[in-house]
C-alpha cells in the first residue's frame, strides 16, 4: 500500500453531495467520492446504508419515487438529471453494473449466448456472426468451460457461479471503463466466491478498467481493494487506502465492524459487538448517526453531523484524529 495514490486531476467519476430520498424519506444524505481510471474502490457497510442506492442514482436506475439531488459526473459530464438517452448510452457502455443475483438479472427464457450477443450488438454495433463470435470470445474470457457448447444453455441450466460469469461477460460487452460489482459473490459458496473475485481481478488487470466493489464483507474488500469507503446510515464515515484502514481504523464504526468479525487465528476472545442497531431513516439522531451506538460518544456528538474531514484519509468523527 505504501505510496498514496494521488487521484489524477480529473477522476473518471466524481460524486458530490449526492442525496436520495424515497417518497420524502431520506436514504442517502450527501455522498462525496471519486473513482479514478483503473482503480479499485471498495464500498462497505451494513445492509440499508446506501451502497446500492448510490450507484443506482448515478446510473439513473432508481424508480420514480426517488428524488435525487447533488451531482455525479463522468469525465466532467453531469449524469444526475441527464436525459434518458445519455444515461442509456452510459449504462452498459462506459459504466457497467453487475448484481448479487445473476439468475434474476438474466432473462430466464433466452439462451445465454443470445443474451451476451445482444449486449454486444447494443453497445458495440456488431451484428449477426460478428456479434455471436464476440459473445463466444467473452464467455470464453470469463471462464465458461466449453463456451461454444454452453452458448445454447439457459440460465437455469447453469450454476450460480457460472451465471455470474455470464453477467460479467454481458457487462464486458460494452468495454466499460468502470465496472460496479454490487455484492457479486454474496449468494455464492466461498470456493466459488474466490473464483469470481479472481476473475474480476484478472479482468481488471487486463482491461485496465476501474472497479467499484460493493460488499458487506470486510474480508472481501480487504483482499480486493486499493481504497475503501465505509458507509453508515446514508453517509460515508471513513475513507482511506485499504492497508491504512485495516491497520488502523479511525472511525469508531469501522473499529466496531472489524471487532465484530471473528478472527481466523489467535485465542477465541469474545467478539466486540457493536451494541444496538442502525437507526431507521425516519428517526435519525440529530448529530452523528452512529453516536447512539458509539463507545466514544460525548455530548458534542449529538449536536451536529460531523463533516468528513481530511485529505487522502477522511473520517467523519469529532473524536477521531483525521
Amino acid at each position: 500500500m505504501g505510496l498514496t495514490v494521488v487521484p489524477s486531476a480529473s477522476p473518471l467519476i466524481r460524486i458530490s453531495g449526492l442525496s436520495v430520498a424515497f417518497n420524502g424519506t431520506p436514504a442517502l444524505l450527501g455522498i462525496d467520492l471519486t473513482v479514478g481510471a483503473g482503480e479499485t474502490l471498495g464500498l462497505v457497510g451494513e445492509s440499508g446504508c446506501g451502497k446500492s442506492v448510490t450507484w443506482l442514482a448515478v446510473l439513473g436506475l432508481l424508480p420514480n419515487s426517488a428524488t435525487v439531488g447533488g451531482s455525479a459526473t463522468l469525465d466532467g459530464r453531469e449524469l444526475v438529471g441527464a436525459p434518458a438517452s445519455v444515461l442509456e448510452r452510459v449504462r452498459g457502455g462506459r459504466v457497467a453494473m453487475i448484481f448479487q443475483d445473476p439468475a434474476s438479472a438474466l432473462n430466464p427464457v433466452h439462451r445465454i449466448g443470445r443474451q451476451v450477443s445482444e449486449a454486444v450488438t447494443l453497445h458495440r454495433g456488431l451484428s449477426g456472426g460478428a456479434a455471436t463470435a464476440e459473445a463466444l470470445r467473452l464467455l470464453d474470457e470469463v471462464g465458461i468451460p466449453d463456451a461454444r457448447n454452453r452458448m445454447t444453455a439457459y440460465p437455469h441450466e447453469m450454476s450460480g457461479g457460472q451465471n455470474q460469469r455470464v453477467m460479467i461477460a454481458t457487462a464486458l460487452a460494452g468495454r466499460p471503463e468502470l465496472l460496479i460489482a454490487d455484492e457479486p459473490t454474496t449468494a455464492l459458496d466461498v470456493t466459488i466466491q474466490a473464483q469470481i473475485l479472481d476473475l474480476l481481478r484478472r479482468l481488471q488487470r487486463e482491461h485496465g478498467m476501474a472497479l467499484v466493489l460493493i460488499s458487506h464483507d470486510l474480508g472481501v474488500v480487504a483482499e480486493m481493494c486499493e481504497r475503501v469507503c465505509v458507509m453508515y446510515a446514508g453517509r460515508i464515515v471513513e475513507e482511506a487506502q485499504a492497508g491504512a484502514l485495516f491497520a488502523g481504523p479511525r472511525h469508531p464504526y469501522t473499529t466496531g465492524l472489524m471487532g465484530a468479525l471473528p478472527p481466523l487465528t489467535g485465542p477465541r476472545l469474545r467478539l466486540t459487538a457493536i451494541p444496538g442497531r442502525v437507526p431507521e431513516p425516519w428517526a435519525m439522531p440529530p448529530g452523528c448517526a452512529f453516536a447512539p451506538r458509539c463507545p466514544k460518544r460525548i455530548e458534542a456528538c449529538d449536536v451536529s453531523v460531523p463533516n468528513l474531514r481530511g485529505e487522502d484519509r477522511r473520517v467523519a468523527c469529532i473524536r477521531a484524529a483525521a
Binding site: S159, G161, D189, T191, A194, G219, R268
Partner: protein
C-alpha cells in the same frame, strides 16, 4: 459425556431430473457419524448442498434415517410424532437461519416464547410469566419489544426471540442451522456472543451448522467438514484452520475472504449430489488427485494426532 451420537446415518431423497427424467436418488447424507458432548459445540461446515441441514434434521429426529442410528442421551431416537418424540422436543431445539419463517406472524413474540412452556406443561400462569421475563432478559429483549409482532422487530431481535423460545423448556441441545447467516456483521457478533454466553450459563450443547468458517471457528470446540453428504475431516478447530489435512478443507480455508492464501483457488463447480463421482467424491476438483482416488472411496480414519481425515494422501 456424549449427548448426541449419529452413527453411519444416511438419508436420500428421490429427485426427478428435468420434466421427463426418471427419479434418481439424491444421497443428501451418506454415512455420517458424529458426536456432540454435553455442553460443547460441534461446528459443521461445507458448501451448500453438502447435507448440513439434513444432518441437523436427522439429529433432531425431525427425519428418520434410511440407515444408521441417532442416539440422544443414551437412548435411540423415537420415531417422529409419537409421545416419546414429543417429550424429547423439550430437550432439543432448532435455531434456524430465517427467524421470520420460524415465528408466527400473527402473535406477539412473548406469547410464542411461552408456547413451549404450555406445550410441555411447565409451571402455572404466574411461573410462566416469570420464566418468560427471565428468558427475555437472557437473550437481551425488552418487554416492550417482546410485546410486538415479528414483523415489527429487526432481524437480530427476531433471532433473539427465536432463541428465547428455543431455550424456554430448558433444552440440553440446540441445533443451530446458519443462525447468523442472514444478519449484518455487527448484529451477527451480538448473537454469536449471546450463544456462547448461553452455553456457558446453561451448559447447552450445540450442533452449529454454517458455511461461514470464521463464525464456526469462533463458537466450536470441534469441527466437522462435510463434502457431498459425508464428513471428510474432523478435529480441533485451530488444527483444522491452521493446518487443514484434507485437500478440500485446504481449499475452504484458503477461500476465506481476508485470510492468508497459502493454497490455490479450487477450480470447478460444487458437485451435484445426484451424480456422485466414483471413488473419492472430491477427486474431480482435487489438485493432488492420484489414480487410487478415482477408484477407491477413502474412509474417515483417525490419525495419530487425533484428526480424522478421509483422504488417501493425508493419512499422516
Amino acid at each position: 459425556m456424549t449427548l448426541l451420537a449419529l452413527d453411519s446415518v444416511a438419508r436420500g431423497y428421490p429427485m426427478r431430473r428435468g420434466w421427463l427424467g426418471r427419479a434418481v436418488m439424491v444421497h443428501a447424507v451418506d454415512g455420517v457419524s458424529l458426536e456432540v458432548s454435553a455442553g460443547r459445540t460441534l461446528g459443521v461446515v461445507g458448501e451448500s448442498g453438502c447435507g448440513k441441514s439434513t444432518t441437523g434434521r436427522l439429529a433432531l429426529g425431525l427425519e428418520t434415517p434410511d440407515s444408521g442410528t441417532v442416539t440422544f442421551a443414551g437412548a435411540a431416537m423415537p420415531p417422529p410424532g409419537g409421545a416419546a418424540w414429543r417429550a424429547l422436543r423439550a430437550q432439543m431445539q432448532l435455531v434456524p437461519q430465517d427467524p421470520l419463517g420460524a415465528l408466527d406472524r400473527r402473535l406477539p413474540v412473548a406469547r410464542q416464547i411461552a408456547e413451549p412452556l404450555v406445550i410441555h406443561g411447565i409451571g402455572d400462569a404466574g411461573e410462566r410469566a416469570d420464566r418468560v421475563a427471565t428468558l427475555l432478559a437472557s437473550v437481551g429483549l425488552r418487554p416492550d419489544q417482546a410485546a410486538r409482532h415479528p414483523h415489527a422487530l429487526s432481524g437480530g431481535q427476531r433471532q433473539r426471540a427465536v432463541l428465547a423460545r428455543a431455550l424456554a423448556a430448558g433444552p440440553a441441545l440446540l441445533v443451530c442451522d446458519e443462525p447468523v447467516s442472514a444478519l449484518d456483521v455487527s448484529i451477527q457478533a451480538q448473537i454469536v456472543n449471546l450463544l456462547t454466553d448461553l452455553q456457558e450459563s446453561h451448559g447447552i450443547a450445540m450442533l452449529f451448522i454454517s458455511h461461514d468458517l470464521r463464525v464456526v471457528r469462533q463458537v466450536s470446540h470441534e469441527v466437522a467438514v462435510m463434502y457431498l453428504g459425508r464428513v471428510i475431516e474432523r478435529g480441533d478447530p485451530d488444527a483444522i484452520f491452521t493446518d487443514p489435512a484434507h485437500p478440500y478443507s485446504r481449499a475452504l480455508v484458503a477461500a476465506i475472504p481476508g485470510g492468508s492464501k497459502p493454497h490455490a483457488i479450487l477450480a470447478g463447480d460444487p458437485p451435484n449430489p445426484a451424480d456422485r463421482p466414483a471413488g473419492c467424491a472430491f477427486h474431480p476438483r482435487c489438485p493432488v488427485v492420484v489414480a487410487r482416488c478415482r477408484a477407491e472411496t477413502p474412509t474417515l480414519d483417525v490419525r495419530a494426532d487425533g484428526r480424522a481425515v478421509a483422504c488417501h494422501l493425508a493419512r499422516g
